[in-house]
């Protein structure tokens, strides 16, 4: 029998943690490391946003999706087309990208989520296979194979940051907001309904959970995350082209979600680091062995920590909280015995 630990950190510990996290994200990453790495960390944040979306739809919605690159592409091309063809301010395209991918998520989720398990995985896989050719076909609009040159948005004149630092901070702010939103979604009634619909459809229906509607809404929300990620991605890279958003990107994002922990939101950042840096390090070790090292690292992670890095970290965190007594008043063993007293009494 396991008690659910509800951590409650002492104020001093909470402040200390906040300071460490703030120093790391607001000072060490943007100011202490080489410039090219800063923009890579901006990409990590963007991947983390997309992975949080996968956490929602796969971790809690129970639907395996291998098509997230399609929604990332939608977000990227929304930003690219609006800025390049219509001269929009790039930041103003972010909400448009979010709205369009949310709507696309509803439209595609509605038929797609009637598919179960592997069929859904295949369906979404086909979606991400379809995207690059479609983008190439409508070249008058999308720039075809050549892609579109978005350019990196310049920081406002009054802000003493270079382009990569600026886009890093923009991504950080948006990632933080979307992280908090996801935390809210996964607190309380909605999380219970999602877990119920994921783990037992029949009982969920008996409890009044409309599974089809709930999972479609989750899919749409997850697409919104991917779309925002795509919009930011276009600004970081400064360039969009069809083959960026291929099946490999979908698979890579899914791998990131699994390595970080499929139900772990904090793991999303770790998963994003994994898919951003491990392939680079792997090809540094040996160019021809790059894929092998990446695959090996993935298999090792899955074998050693199936709950993902984030899942493992959360378990350690809860255990530490329990040991240190940093919890809301938890049930004692005597109380548990009292609740089962009748049964034991009869057994003796």
């Amino acid at each position: 029998m396991s008690v659910v630990v509800k951590p409650r950190l002492p104020v001093a510990v909470r402040i200390a943690t906040a300071i460490v996290v703030a120093i790391l994200f607001l000072y060490v990453i943007p100011f202490m490391i080489p410039n090219y790495l800063v923009s890579q960390f901006a990409t990590v944040l963007v991947f983390a946003i997309a992975i949080v979306g996968i956490n929602l739809v796969t971790g809690y919605g129970g639907a395996i999706t291998l098509g997230h690159a399609a929604f990332v592409a939608l977000g990227s091309y929304t930003t690219a087309i609006l800025t390049v063809r219509y001269g929009w301010n790039p930041y103003a395209t972010i909400p448009v990208a979010a709205a369009l991918s949310w709507i696309a998520g509803w439209c595609l989720g509605f038929p797609a989520l009637r598919l179960q398990g592997l069929y859904l995985a295949l369906g979404t896989l086909v979606l991400s296979i379809t995207v690059p050719p479609v983008l190439k076909r409508f070249d008058a609009f999308t720039g075809g194979v050549q892609g579109l040159n978005v350019g990196n948005p310049a920081p406002p004149a009054s802000v003493p940051l270079d382009e990569s630092q600026w886009i890093y901070f923009v991504s950080l702010a948006i990632a933080a907001v979307l992280y908090v939103v996801a935390r809210r979604i996964l607190s309380g009634p909605l999380r219970r309904a999602l877990v119920a619909a994921r783990d037992n459809q029949l009982v969920a229906a008996v409890m009044g959970v409309n599974r089809a509607r709930l999972t479609t809404a989750t899919f749409a929300m997850s697409s919104l995350y991917a779309g925002v990620a795509g919009s930011l991605y276009a600004m970081i890279v400064g360039f969009v082209s069809p083959d960026t958003f291929n099946v490999m990107m979908s698979l890579s994002l899914f791998v990131g979600a699994v390595v970080g922990g499929i139900t772990s939101l904090s793991g999303a950042f770790i998963g994003a680091m994994f898919i951003q840096f491990v392939p680079i390090w792997a090809s540094d070790i040996d160019v021809s062995l790059g894929g092998l090292v990446f695959g090996g690292a993935l298999i090792l992670t899955l074998v050693l920590i199936p709950a993902g890095v984030g899942g493992l970290a959360e378990r350690w965190y809860l255990r530490a909280c329990a040991r240190l007594g940093w919890t809301e008043a938890a049930a004692t063993e005597t109380a548990i015995e009292a609740s089962t007293r009748g049964a034991q009494h009869e057994a003796t």
């Binding site: 029998m1 219970r192 008996v206 409890m207 009044g208």
Partner: protein, 254 residues
């Protein structure tokens, strides 16, 4: 006084198998109606028909004078019909309290927009959480409130399911073999709990149970099914004296 639940000529078929044939009965408000029959008689099928998990091939089901025969399953609990499941339908990944709160899903109506902006809920979440605590305490489950439901003893799980049904504010409570797997002492305790919650929450109860002593003790009326057909319907005394019922349970004597 019209019946709260009216089952009329209900038939259910799975492929060629007739699970229920032409079953009709009423459940009057405030009463406890027992549903018995040998294994495979169609008791749980009937439960699933009323909670709309199974499609009804023929006949109608009315609840509170409303035809619910074609409603989707997820609308039923909101009308005031709550049920427990034969093999316990709790979620091992959720704590006991969360499992109970799931029973209030239709009262909270959580949507993404409401949840993100923390407003718009029909009922105050804190109020429902307080209700959950009260119900858990009432059923002697306060000590396990923060446990994951997975791994708790069966008798405890049965009571958690009852708590989850109660928080949905039902008018009709359907219990599918609540005494299954309980010891003698626990069965007596359970009978008292059912009688108590019926009074306390002003419930009508439909009860499937193999435990004959308990069922006969607390039911106002008993419906007997055999092979998907209703063979008897009356007070516990009438049903006990009915030769058809004895035949169904002990084999034909004629």
């Amino acid at each position: 006084m019209t019946a709260l639940l009216q089952v009329r000529n209900v038939g259910i078929e799975f492929g060629g198998v007739r699970a229920l044939q032409d079953v009709s009965f009423d459940v009057d408000p405030g009463t406890i109606c027992g549903l018995i029959g040998p294994n495979g008689a169609g008791k749980t099928t009937l439960f699933n028909a009323i909670s709309r998990v199974y499609a009804v091939s023929r006949g109608t089901i009315h609840f509170d004078n409303r035809d619910i025969t074609a409603l989707p399953a997820d609308r039923i609990i909101g009308l005031g019909i709550a049920r427990t499941l034969q093999n316990v339908g709790l979620f091992g990944a959720l704590s006991v309290t969360e499992n109970v709160l799931l029973g209030a899903h239709h009262r909270l109506k959580p949507g993404f927009i409401n949840t993100i902006f923390g407003r718009g809920a029909v009922v105050d979440i804190a109020q429902i959480e307080a209700e959950a605590r009260d119900i858990l305490r009432d059923l002697g489950l306060a000590g396990v409130a923060d446990h994951l439901a997975g791994g708790l003893p069966f008798g405890t799980l049965k009571r958690i399911e009852l708590a989850r049904a109660l928080i949905s504010l039902p008018r009709l409570l359907m219990l599918d073999e609540p005494a299954n797997g309980l010891s003698h002492g626990e069965v007596d305790e359970l009978s008292d709990v059912i009688l108590r919650v019926r009074r306390q929450y002003k419930l009508t109860v439909l009860l499937v149970e193999h435990h004959m002593r308990m069922l006969m003790r607390i039911s106002d009326r008993v419906v007997v099914l055999e092979n998907g057909i209703k063979i008897a319907d009356g007070t516990p005394q009438d049903v006990k004296a009915d030769p058809n019922v004895a035949a169904a349970y002990l084999g034909a004597v004629t």
